[in-house]
């Protein structure tokens, strides 16, 4: 017996598939018209729950378009595309939306037939850093699924995203196993007003009275040596543990997270770390900052940034090679020499690195700040570079210096774009590094930040610059001079790399050709 609900679902699915086929087939046959001219573009602020981020945007005669990938980082969801870049799938919760730069419609899986194919105000546009989508696509996707409301202020160049009050508790789970221990991170979209963590025989519960959990991720828990899975039920989220496993937990803020550390209490625990391979990471480039005549920061107690950065980078290399067998680790320098900033990223590009980590120690001109902070590239740099490149191409007062100027301009833009394509992943990895440093060392959380650091611009892979402490603070300088303390820092960064590789999407397979 087939229920009417089942018929509706089947009809919706058929219509969806038909819609996808129609939308993209028609586009292929009729050859899509060129994209609308971009009247203006740049970086805009996006505000989600009072927190600011940056996204790229473009304005056409039909309104604004926004970079989709950074928004999925802020709002959740995943984007995938076909190899040709014509059909994109945005997954928000259980809902899939299919759209592309050749169609003014979006197809929604699981929607009623009359709502399965909806018109957009304009076609999305492909850019080198990802897809730009119109505002109504965001309203259709995140608005319908997550109840988010969007408001674009063209004068302020600000996209405000607000969430309605709801009883639904959206949680993203992440599971990492390393060195015989497992870490489970539950990231909450919103911190519950009331919650508690309850331990039982073989399980740990997160209980939210009256809450309805919507869980994404965490599938790896089912096959983890120390866990048996994560289950969402009304009012509680249960982490099931393997026999003879103990769990402890702690919380992190911004975003609110509950982190469970699992460890085996019986024999054989230490060998469990070798069960997981290196995942999608093949090469990591570590860049010890400064060198040669460029000392970097110098503490009052005599600590020199270039020396400590090299010591930390060498220790991190050893740790990663031991913990992630099969991963190649390359250092931009292994001795006291000065490398131009551009050459550091070039080394990473030449080695086809999957991850670039620049190691630094900090100093400040004001006060006595302490703590670690992790940077990824600021888009403000792209505005600056693009403007500077344009000025060189067309200098005021007449004339250009021809091919040289064009080459310079092109090189600058390409460099900047090299990292722009990876900003979302850079931000995600920066968050993991910062969380591990905060937790492992109890350091003051200075947060994930953005800056136009030159060493990050040319990296064609996720790239961060980690500041592991302030040499301008005498107490922190003294700690940084001690090897055991530096080992703790290295452990924290290595754990972040392991968590990143465990949750990193594998590189797409080459398309099979007949």
């Amino acid at each position: 017996m087939v229920s009417s609900r089942g018929v509706n679902k089947a009809a919706a699915l058929c219509l969806s598939l038909l819609g996808v086929a129609l939308a993209f087939r028609l586009a292929a046959v009729e050859k899509a018209p060129p994209p609308l001219p971009v009247l203006h573009s740049g970086s805009a602020q996006v505000t989600v729950d009072g927190r600011d981020g940056e996204i790229l945007y473009a304005i056409t005669e039909k309104g604004p378009l926004f970079g989709l990938t950074p928004l999925t980082v802020l709002l959740g969801g995943e984007v995938a595309s076909d190899p040709a870049g014509r059909a994109f799938t945005l997954t928000v919760g259980e809902t899939e939306l299919v759209f592309g730069p050749e169609s003014e419609s979006v197809v929604i899986s699981g929607a009623p037939p009359e709502e399965a194919v909806l018109a957009l105000s304009q076609r999305p546009q492909a850019a080198s850093f990802g897809l730009l989508v119109p505002l109504d696509l965001l309203e259709i996707s995140y608005g319908r699924v997550s109840g988010l409301a969007f408001r674009w202020d063209p004068d302020e160049r600000r996209l405000a995203v607000s969430r309605p009050p709801a009883n639904e508790v959206a949680v993203a789970a992440e599971v990492v196993h390393l060195s015989g221990a497992t870490t489970v991170v539950l990231t909450f979209r919103d911190q519950p007003a009331r919650y508690r963590v309850v331990a039982g025989e073989g399980w740990m519960d997160v209980q939210v009275p009256g809450g309805s959990f919507r869980l994404t991720g965490g599938e790896a828990a089912a096959s983890d040596p120390l866990a048996r899975g994560i289950e969402a039920e009304p009012g509680r989220l249960r982490l099931r543990l393997a026999p003879e496993v103990r769990a402890s937990h702690y919380t992190l803020d911004e975003p609110f997270r509950i982190v469970f550390d699992l460890a085996a209490t019986g024999e054989g625990a230490t060998s469990l770390g070798a069960q997981r391979g290196a995942g999608g990471l093949t090469t990591i480039v570590i860049d010890p900052g400064h060198g040669g005549t460029e000392t970097g920061a110098i503490g009052k107690g005599g600590a020199v940034e270039k020396e400590l950065a090299l010591a930390l980078a060498l220790a991190l290399e050893r740790r990663l090679e031991a913990e992630l067998p099969g991963v190649r680790v390359v250092l931009t320098r292994t001795e006291d020499l000065l490398l131009p900033l551009a050459e550091r990223a070039a080394i990473a590009n030449q080695n086809k690195a999957d991850l670039f980590i620049s190691i630094h120690l900090n100093s400040s001109a004001g006060g006595r700040p302490t703590g670690a902070e992790t940077y990824f590239l600021s888009l403000q740099a792209s505005d600056r570079l693009a403007a500077a490149a344009a000025e060189r191409e067309n200098p005021p007062g007449g004339g250009t210096d021809g091919a040289d100027s064009e080459e310079s301009a092109l090189a600058l833009i390409l460099w900047e774009l090299a990292q722009a394509e990876h900003l979302a992943e850079s931000q995600r990895f920066a968050g993991l590094v910062q969380a591990e440093l905060n937790q492992a060392l109890g350091l003051k959380d200075r947060g994930v930040k953005q800056a136009p650091f030159s060493v990050l611009m040319g990296a064609a892979m996720p790239a961060v610059l980690v500041e592991l402490g302030f040499l301008s603070n005498p107490e922190e300088e003294a700690r940084l001079k001690e090897e055991p303390y530096r080992e703790q820092l290295v452990t924290a960064v290595a754990r972040a790399v392991a968590r990143y590789q465990a949750t990193r999407e594998p590189a797409p397979l080459a398309e099979a050709r007949p």
Partner: protein, 185 residues
């Protein structure tokens, strides 16, 4: 890229040379050209200087400065006031060591060239990234956000344009102010 850098440096050298020739007499009479020639009408400017802060990268401090209507003099006056240090003890000096402002120049396309002169030609100090951001953008923001017609700023150190001041920021290009570093007013 190297050619691009070389081009920028050449432009900077040309600018410094032009500024040096233009201001040569004043340079000999007054090594720090914070004031204008006697015949140029004097003006009083109300400016906001950007100093390294304790809780934020940069904090503003209002100041009245006397200068002339010439943009080069205004640039030099702003930088001179900045290098003289903050009034508020909670703010920090831009440089820990003595640094003076040398010749300044404003190109027709709004790029200000500011030459910073260290005592005895000392090299750039070692800077962590936070301190480099504070140092570079205290100068860039103070000049670009206070002197009309300045859109970007090139910083020179003892007459040459460094590729980077502290090993983090690219200073081989004219820099626009970073408003996000300033506290919300």
């Amino acid at each position: 890229m190297r050619r691009a850098l070389a081009g920028a440096c050449a432009l900077a050298f040309a600018a410094v040379l032009a500024a040096g020739l233009a201001c040569g007499r004043r340079e000999r009479e007054r090594p720090v050209p914070v004031a204008a020639a006697a015949e140029t009408p004097r003006v009083r400017l109300s400016v906001e200087l950007y100093f390294p802060g304790e809780r934020t990268f940069l904090e503003r401090e209002r100041r009245e400065i006397e200068t002339t209507a010439l943009p080069e003099d205004q640039i030099a006056a702003v930088v001179g006031a900045l290098l003289a240090g903050p009034d508020d003890s909670g703010l920090a000096a831009v440089f820990e060591q003595p640094v003076e402002v040398g010749p300044c120049y404003l190109s027709p396309d709004g790029v200000a060239y500011v030459d910073l002169r260290s005592a005895d030609g000392a090299p750039l100090p070692g800077l962590g990234s936070t301190q480099e951001i504070q140092t570079v953008y205290s100068l860039v923001n103070s000049v670009a956000l206070n002197v009309n017609d300045v859109r970007r700023v090139v910083l020179l150190w003892n007459g040459t344009q460094p590729a980077t001041f502290g090993g983090h920021l690219d200073t081989s290009l004219p820099l626009a102010p970073l408003r996000g570093l300033a506290p919300r007013g």
